[in-house]
Assembly symmetry: C2
Homo-oligomer: 267 residues x 2
Amino acid sequence: MYRPSSCSAGGLPALSNGWSVPDFRCSPIGYLATPFHDRFGIPRQPRLAPHAHGQLRLLRPYDRAEAVRGLEAFSHVWLSFVFHRSAGSWSPTVRPPRLGGNQRVGVFASRSPFRPNLLGLSLVELLAIDTSVGVLLTFGGVDLLDGTPILDIKPYLPFVESEPAARSGFVDGPPPQLAVDFSPLAQTQLHRHESRWPDLAALIREVLAQDPRPAYASDERRCYGFRLYDLEIRWRCIGGQAIVEQIAGRKNGHQVPCVSAWPGLLR
Amino acid sequence: MYRPSSCSAGGLPALSNGWSVPDFRCSPIGYLATPFHDRFGIPRQPRLAPHAHGQLRLLRPYDRAEAVRGLEAFSHVWLSFVFHRSAGSWSPTVRPPRLGGNQRVGVFASRSPFRPNLLGLSLVELLAIDTSVGVLLTFGGVDLLDGTPILDIKPYLPFVESEPAARSGFVDGPPPQLAVDFSPLAQTQLHRHESRWPDLAALIREVLAQDPRPAYASDERRCYGFRLYDLEIRWRCIGGQAIVEQIAGRKNGHQVPCVSAWPGLLR
């Protein structure tokens, strides 16, 4: 269970004008269902993997059609969420993957999950609104773990929030892309699973194209794997090319650890 | 004192996978000092009033230079904040000023402060970082009340967060602008106060140009007023023109109610 230990550090700080604000509590408006069950493989920014769809069913008392009335007029929305797997820790400096994982920047100069208050922010595409039973929202291009607690939904306002000329330091564009190919075995397995997940091939390509390997990894013999839906995707990276070796169904309850802990599984 | 009564409504909802996430607590990393002491007059979006500067001094344990290392490479940052004057209430539907205040949309289709979890989000310009004593950040184009609790600072990433072509429903651009003029009396008073607030004229013009009157207001004889810094700005709107009548210093402790409660003060 996630314990935001950093969140109680503030106590009751006094305002300059004398009155004080207590720590305040938030409760999720819902939990986002996504294909991502490991940190490994999650796109490092939203909308890098358009076929990564997320579904949010609003909890009571928010599950009323009126609460989303007019939202269909917006193509993009902000999700405010909790980094619920970050164990409540934060560090004054972090090592962004974009800097090769060996250079430290301040946590407030990063989008690291290991931050004060564990608050995350993600701009996603709004694909569908279903108010037939409660409220079910479908988003495209999600970059969040399955089960992420969502605290708020806000419409995206391009006239104030689109700043194409903004300076963005070391994060100046999408990461370089890998070519992605499937082994004959993986292709056969792909066809079997596409009946349940029609966009599976596209999603695997989008996820692997971003080279989700840890920054320190370079062993070409090494096999990586990550969970997508209820599948285990196993792949290698040879040169600039990602090759999907296997797409295996996962036995119920069979917990495969994040691959960065099990090198060379297929050797 | 602000009480987030809505925030404890969530209880301990269970995740699909069985484990549960409690309500979680946040504590401010600092409180933003701004010129705005009333809701009335606050720009309805960030950066509509570039001369509205905000200063944030980070609280312990966040007040370390390392925590903002590299932030200078970013021109814009997100402020996650608490709507601390919204009394913890929320409503499934709200009436956005942009719709004339007489049409209701869902709270999640709006940026209303009266929302679940009272979380706000504002994109501001990063003007200065001072780490000589603790950490003091200066922002431009703020649209927040003085004393707003800040929960997080995140760098703005244009390559994922700038979507100029996004559909944005009823919020398709900045509101129509009013012409702004100063009465002879106001001009004299302006010169007196500009020694302390050099950008005062520009800030008053930016604030009034957006027509901060309540949607229902149309009485041209009516005088409006709002607090800026430690000043009371009194003005009328005649035709498409805002005329600043007076810029009065405020006696210590003298609390002027938000003007929408005191029509015709100068009559």
